[in-house]
Point group: C2
Chain length 256, copies 2
């Protein structure tokens, strides 16, 4: 059997610690190719580069492993990997991360990490985005490696349900070890933003966006609960956003 | 009864023709406040500004109507509108657009127009993103105005099903008039990218991303069919990406 081909990307950029840990974990499974942003792209959501050019340069940052850094977004990286770098070679798995920071709940919508995974899912490829719920660039990562390997192994052998990518979040390193894996829902929550108003040295106003996370969940079948209780959360995310129940409501009650 | 408060944003920027048409259409319903990007933000997906500052300036571009231009993304605009510009005033409706270009099918994922609407839906506000399937900045827009008004009126009187925003696309101006409105699904399709490789005057390689749209649909209950057949498409989009069926598949067959 041919060795699996695994494409690795992320949104923190090719020099981040998270992608290095992910590349090393994937090496045990097969051939790894890295195409990642040349600079941090956090919060880029599913942005793509339209109306501007892209650069792509080979990088020796991972030694023998083929690696490319791209000026674009995470979604751009997967597109150029699929259609230019790998051309007719189809990856068996696409992984993104390990993100330095949580992508639980609605943060998935803003996540560059998950946009790379969703972009791969759009191509019909099994894809997983990995995030660590610790924003520190120095955060401990070793405790999540066995779970990264296990989930990648399952995706390689069992494939992925059609039309989804997995959003995997890991608890930060705590005294208590990780309790296991929960396949669960995206928590119903929101960011309550605050805009910190300041003035620059020229007297012009500017803002920093800040916010508090507000969790509306009372149950235990969601990713916020999983992380709080020291489980790995696995949320299968679909890129078909259609709400079938809302189609029914609107068709029945709205007049056109 | 107090006049409704309507927040207007977009992704083509505050000077685009599409937002002007939308502002004029909304004026008939109540008080309009505009917070829109100061420059085009197409393809920004659900990007937000993290780790950088935002500027917000008052604009007189719409005369008497309160308008603000923001250096951020469409999602940033809705956040700063909600939490800073409007503070304790809750909009009765948030509309985004009219985008110059299609946001049907999976283009919804890349759409700045829809990210503004989804951002509003996250706040529990009725929200609609409007797009015209014609990329020309000079495209005819008048034929869609009655539909913009009708959909806004329905949203104002009937509200929106919980957890969704509407993705509304309009056919380009054709000889045949618009045939009506279809509440339907996001078409199953993809972009088949091509990367056009070029060299700059200094001999360095760069790329333009281009692509062809590949439609996998054979049925008529989707937005691509609607637009092709001269209907307005209305797709209710949910921001909870969880695939419940995939939770079941993975829980049953994967080993952790």
């Amino acid at each position: 059997m041919e060795k699996p081909l695994i494409l690795v990307s992320n949104d923190d950029g090719i020099t981040s610690r998270g992608i290095r840990v992910l590349v090393e974990a994937m090496q045990t499974f097969g051939e790894v190719v890295v195409v990642a942003p040349d600079s941090p792209q956090s919060g880029m959501g599913h942005a793509i580069t339209i109306g501007d050019t892209l650069r792509l340069e080979k990088s020796d940052i991972f030694g023998e492993i083929a690696a490319y850094e791209c000026t674009g977004t995470p979604a751009d990286c997967v597109k150029i990997a699929k259609h230019y770098v790998l051309k007719d070679r189809r990856p068996d798995l696409v992984v993104s991360g390990i993100n330095h920071g949580s992508n639980t709940s609605i943060s998935v919508l803003y996540s560059g990490t998950m946009s790379a995974a969703i972009e791969a899912a759009l191509e019909g490829l099994p894809a997983i985005g990995f995030s660590l719920c610790d924003y520190s660039s120095e955060a401990e990562l070793e405790h999540v490696v066995p779970y990264v390997r296990q989930l990648a192994a399952e995706a390689l052998t069992k494939g992925m349900p059609r039309g989804v990518a997995l959003n995997v979040n890991f608890p930060p390193k705590r005294e208590q070890p990780i309790q296991g894996v929960r396949v669960c829902k995206q928590a119903n929550a929101k960011w309550q933003e605050e805009f910190d108003e300041r003035f620059d040295p020229y007297g012009r106003r500017y803002f920093w966006m800040a916010g508090n996370f507000v969790n509306f969940e009372e149950d235990d079948n969601n990713d916020e609960w999983a992380i709080a209780n020291n489980y790995v959360s696995v949320v299968p995310c679909q890129y078909d956003l259609t709400s079938l129940s809302a189609i029914e409501v609107i068709s029945d009650s709205w007049e056109f």
